[in-house]
Symmetry: D2
Subunit: 419 residues, 4 copies
């Protein structure tokens, strides 16, 4: 039985046990009253305070740091996040939402904080959220997860490499045990090999709890490597803790049939009415543009096919203390749009490489924590929920830009709101 198949079996058992699919179906059938949330005072104190009050009341939390009334005094909390500290970069943050999400962990209407300096970005995502919510919401499901480290070991020749492999195939349980000792959160779930000439990449796959987990898997893999070097009957000529096969900070083609971080799928059925009224386009035009754009993306030689998910995800990552450099890899995704049998639009976004966390990294810093709390996504047990919101938001943004370009109001929006 393969890992994939075994993981799928586990997932399916879980889904059965907690009745997850039925909950999504039930949610889908509920009538949702989409909250009204928008005012035209984009850039003044009055508009800002109205929005903050609304969110503070809704969430039962104060968002004082975002408000910028007080400076951050306790710098000791920055330990582990920065060196040579000189101050804070202050990134304007707006809100897009409500976004109605129907996921396995994320369920309800969410307001997404977006830290950006690009005019029209928040407005565009907000429009996508509105259309999505009025259409009954986005189904968004985190289906699998893992984070990799890939040390590499080189030998005199493939003969010694073979002897090494003959030993290592009996060590997996040992590696699981080492991982267990090294971290409370990390769990080794798989080991793969990639042999190239006289060297082998070992690819260790871990789950990392609710942290994005890149440091965690480094430390565990380091302990495993120490054991390998000490115990292996045949010693490598050279070895390195990371071969650059893990995909860390590098968009790559391996993401699709594997997973890095979380694999999340979001989809929606939009009625013709919502498309015409909110997105000011038609299902036919949007599907036509999707096909046209996909053909161009293929000739461009981009990995995956999507429009501008980098925009929304970068802004959400900055606001919520994620590892923003991962934007280089999370933007590997495929978007699909087609006219549905009922004459509306079916749209989906598949993201196999979503690296996010709700603990660790920058998540507990002052403004970042507030932004996570705004979506009830701070702390343990929230990472999958947050991932489902990320993917739903990205899909909402795809809908908005697709409609804007398909129907010719992309330029005017940027003229009105951009710099």
């Amino acid at each position: 039985m393969s890992t994939d198949y075994r993981n799928l079996k586990i997932l399916m058992q879980e889904i059965k046990d907690d009745n997850r699919i039925q909950r999504i179906i039930d949610q889908q059938d509920k009538v949702h009253v989409v909250e009204h949330f928008w005012n035209k005072d984009h850039y003044n104190r009055d508009g800002q305070l109205k929005r903050l009050s609304f969110l503070e009341e809704k969430m039962g939390k104060k968002f004082n740091v975002l408000n910028d009334n007080d400076s951050i005094q306790e710098l000791e909390q920055l330990k582990g996040n920065i060196e040579n500290f000189i101050g804070f970069s202050k990134v304007p943050t707006g809100i897009a939402g409500p976004l109605l999400v129907n996921g396995t962990e994320a369920s309800g209407q969410f307001y997404c904080p977006l830290a950006t300096t690009e005019g029209a970005l928040v407005a565009s995502y907000n429009r996508g959220c509105k259309a999505s919510s009025l259409a009954g919401g986005i189904r968004s499901i985190c289906i699998t997860e893992s984070v990799q480290r890939s040390p590499i070991f080189r030998f005199e020749s493939i003969v010694q490499l073979g002897q090494f492999l003959a030993w290592i195939v009996h060590q997996y349980e040992k590696f699981e045990a080492i991982t267990g000792k090294c971290s409370r959160y990390a769990k080794l779930i798989n080991m793969k090999t990639n042999i190239e000439g006289n060297q082998v990449n070992l690819i260790f796959e871990y789950t990392t709890g609710d942290a994005s987990g890149q440091n965690m898997v480094t430390f565990c893999t380091s302990e495993i490597c120490k054991y390998i070097i000490e115990q292996s009957p045949v010693k490598p000529v050279r070895w390195y803790i990371e071969s650059n096969l893990s995909g860390d900070k590098k968009s790559n083609y391996q993401s699709f049939q594997n997973v890095r971080g979380k694999k999340v799928i979001a989809e929606i059925d939009l009625s013709r009415e919502v498309i015409e009224n909110v997105l000011r386009s038609t299902p036919e035009l949007m599907a036509d543009y999707w096909r046209t754009s996909t053909m161009s993306v293929i000739q461009l030689g981009s990995i995956g096919a999507q429009g501008h998910i980098a925009n929304g995800l970068t802004a959400l990552f900055i606001a919520t203390g994620q590892d923003v450099a991962c934007v280089s890899e999370v933007t590997v995704a495929v978007n699909r749009m087609e006219v549905s049998s009922s004459g509306g639009l079916y749209a989906s976004l598949t993201m196999p490489n979503l690296i996010v966390g709700t603990i660790g990294g920058g998540t507990s810093l002052p403004s970042q924590r507030e932004c996570l709390e705004m979506m009830d996504c701070y702390g343990e047990g929230k990472a999958k929920k947050f991932a489902e919101i990320c993917c739903a938001l990205a899909l909402a943004g795809e809908l908005s830009i697709c409609a804007a370009i398909a129907s010719g109001h992309f330029v005017s929006a940027h003229q009105r709101l951009g710099r």
Copy 2:
């Protein structure tokens, strides 16, 4: 004569006129005393203020917003940068440097502000800067630039498409004139075609002054398209302002033999002494790791080959008000390291897709402007200079991580400084 060749001719004439190569040679031969700048008080007020004072004195500017003593009161200045504003995300910012750069525009020692929440990142880049500076600095040269928009026009068949092309080949001067009217900064420098079946992408290439320029080229292309639709003797069945062939927010393989944003090349010769003393590695180990890593990156299916340039560039982009979502495309680059004939290490980084600006976007916002001013990179006439610093910093970061992994102190650094 081809554009490439013509551009090269223009560049070579410029270089001759301003004696640029000689200036670089002269710089190279000067003995530089690398400034001493570092203290261990990473996370407390005392260390922060020492660093800020040093920088304020050096640059003759105050950095009060970064300091976080005052809140930002005038929200009207956010117009064009944000909608639905709720406050500021505050991103911890550290300093890496001095970084000695010997470029055509950037020349001297620079301190690079990095906004991040990832522990060890600033320390690692700082180490790379130190080694680079002690080795005599990084040569960094911006060799060409352009930003694209690519509308697409579809016809009944390739026959009508042919008739359209027969008309459009005589319109280039008209398009130049339209661009001139539409923008003070944008200049149309080329038009390419990409025919696929019955549709054609027109690829308009512009220079955009010192702005990153994506909005500017949208507006100009929109005006050109209006003219095309009105005047063309054969009308397209469908057309879109952007086909997704421009590469906007999408890493892609077209960057290498073209350029998107700026193409910058940085290189350095490191002596064995500097590598041993500062990077605690050897030229042979670093070159060996470079080769090993490159082989893995090829099998991963990443575009280009580099280690973690996303880390430094993302942090620099957040601090300086760049379009951070462009991290999805700027990380297309190739890094090379080899043992040099003198027994040291030659290292280079080639970035064909560096989208940056020193005016427009978020560059004039309070903390962002301070961060640009820290490097004397704010405002007109500074974009190429900033691009050369970006590429040099990225190369410094590659040196540091390569040495860390090659010599086995990657893990310990993250254990000491990370979360």
Copy 3:
């Protein structure tokens, strides 16, 4: 003015001068009686001889070598094609057609010889040809051409590289002259540069008459390089005649926005009737399968998007003495299918990397020449014609396999005809 734009202008002038578009329109409007050509005696002498007689009569040539009645006695003619000769590999060859093509050079009904050992291949392409011909034929247009060689020159540093470039920008006319002396057929049409660190790839682009031209451009580039090495005021540390940036024998992403060999575009409008009667499918099913398949190809990480053009092109290349190893690169292509406004199917195939010739290479060997003559594609002045047939045939094959998979008779065809 850019090369692209300039080439387009030249092309458009040519098209105007020779009234090419009008000829295609006229052809398109003619009613074609599709020849009837098929018999069920696939594998016996009787069927073979009927087919050969038909072709011999049609073309006014004898195809004795294919017939295999005589052995090849004059081995001296193999000079330049083989070393260590031991005999002939005999590859079974079938015929697909007639294929009605409406191109700038290829115009009429063609019979395509396919050398293969894969059962069902000829039958499938034959079905695609039949459907295409009954639908009024495939428009197939060769729009541009060039073959590259890319030597690389490395210098001490980017400073010396700059000095080299300052010299080389004034040498283009000299390089044209060298090319003129070196070859009767090759013509230098462009020189591009690709700078990476301290080294530069020069990319010389040539037209090569009716030969595929890889050897020809090697020899010319070699002469140019000799001149460079002798005359350049600054000498490279190292240089190589081919850097592997030319794309020779390697599928790659640079093909799309450039060209390697010939860029050819084929398209067709199929009526619903032809699809139902000949392809036993519907426009909707075929467009649905096209979209589904394209999404999978994107996730696979293939270059371009097509189904199985390798099958038909490999078989045609073996039969006609092409450089069959180029199958590794010619299969970079994009196929598009969509339901047309008239309720039929629009399908196109864009091939930017079609390396073919009708002189040189294996084209004049006994059976290979016969196969080219069967399509009136042997010798000078025939390369573009042959390229247009290649692309049209490949599109016919895409139609056939797409219908077969879309409508569920892919498996039964292989069970009936395969091994």
Copy 4:
């Protein structure tokens, strides 16, 4: 336990049981007298007959069909290989060798028949073989194998898709049983899933005995799909037998961390003497060119990194009745060269996507069978052996071209032997 890990465990057990590594070590230590085999009569009857006699005597077989003395009379044997048969394409075939291979199945000196019309190709591969054999031979090991089919199933939404998956995870044993009934050779070894929006690719992985197996896995997958459609409690809206995710006839990035066909690794240590005497180059120059070429290939956007393996493999595939169109995918490979610690050159070639067979397809046709017999690779039990020879030959060709370009005799060889 993952498939990879499980497969590795099985492999390692096999290796232990049959003492395979020890055999390779023993072989390696033997002194081999490399056969002398070459004469200058490339293109005349005399040279041809000398070579054929040598091979006939060595193998104890007659090679009459290659000899071309008789025509092929029994056309019934072509059933399953061709339709609309018109005759035989006759491809000149030369011999490269002896090539000393030290593999798990291939062990000894082999003569490789190459069918090509490209002058200098056989000579170049022959030179690589000579150098490799004099250096003690190429270690070549087939480490894993599988062939895929990937049907796709689309549902109303991801909810129904979830219900489908919940059912299918319990069907694997059933699918194994169906496969067992459908084919004597095919064995289902894994099932993977790839979910994209509301559709799922099932990826069935099979071993296919000694056949290349693409038809075999089609038929088995068809039977499995019939069962799925009949038995699944939730019916797909649409499904297709092949989604184009299998990689059939399409080079792609998934090959590296998976396998398609056979994954084979070849490596060699060449002494400085052999490099100087036979390849007329040096280890340093060759390693330098390898690095330079690899950097260019990365910028080109090719999949993998190699020089011209398409040349040798295409010629070998035509001669031996392989599915030549697979050249589009088998050329995905990575080549590595480095100066070894003993001052020679270490070179390896890793091929994860080698589709070959020694039964079925064109293997039993007259000349094709003779060519397989020439290497004792015809029939059952020979596929891994043949795969190891293929990879070793490809590596020999890489050595030859690398030396030729590195040392500047690439051009002269083509001038002497090419057309």
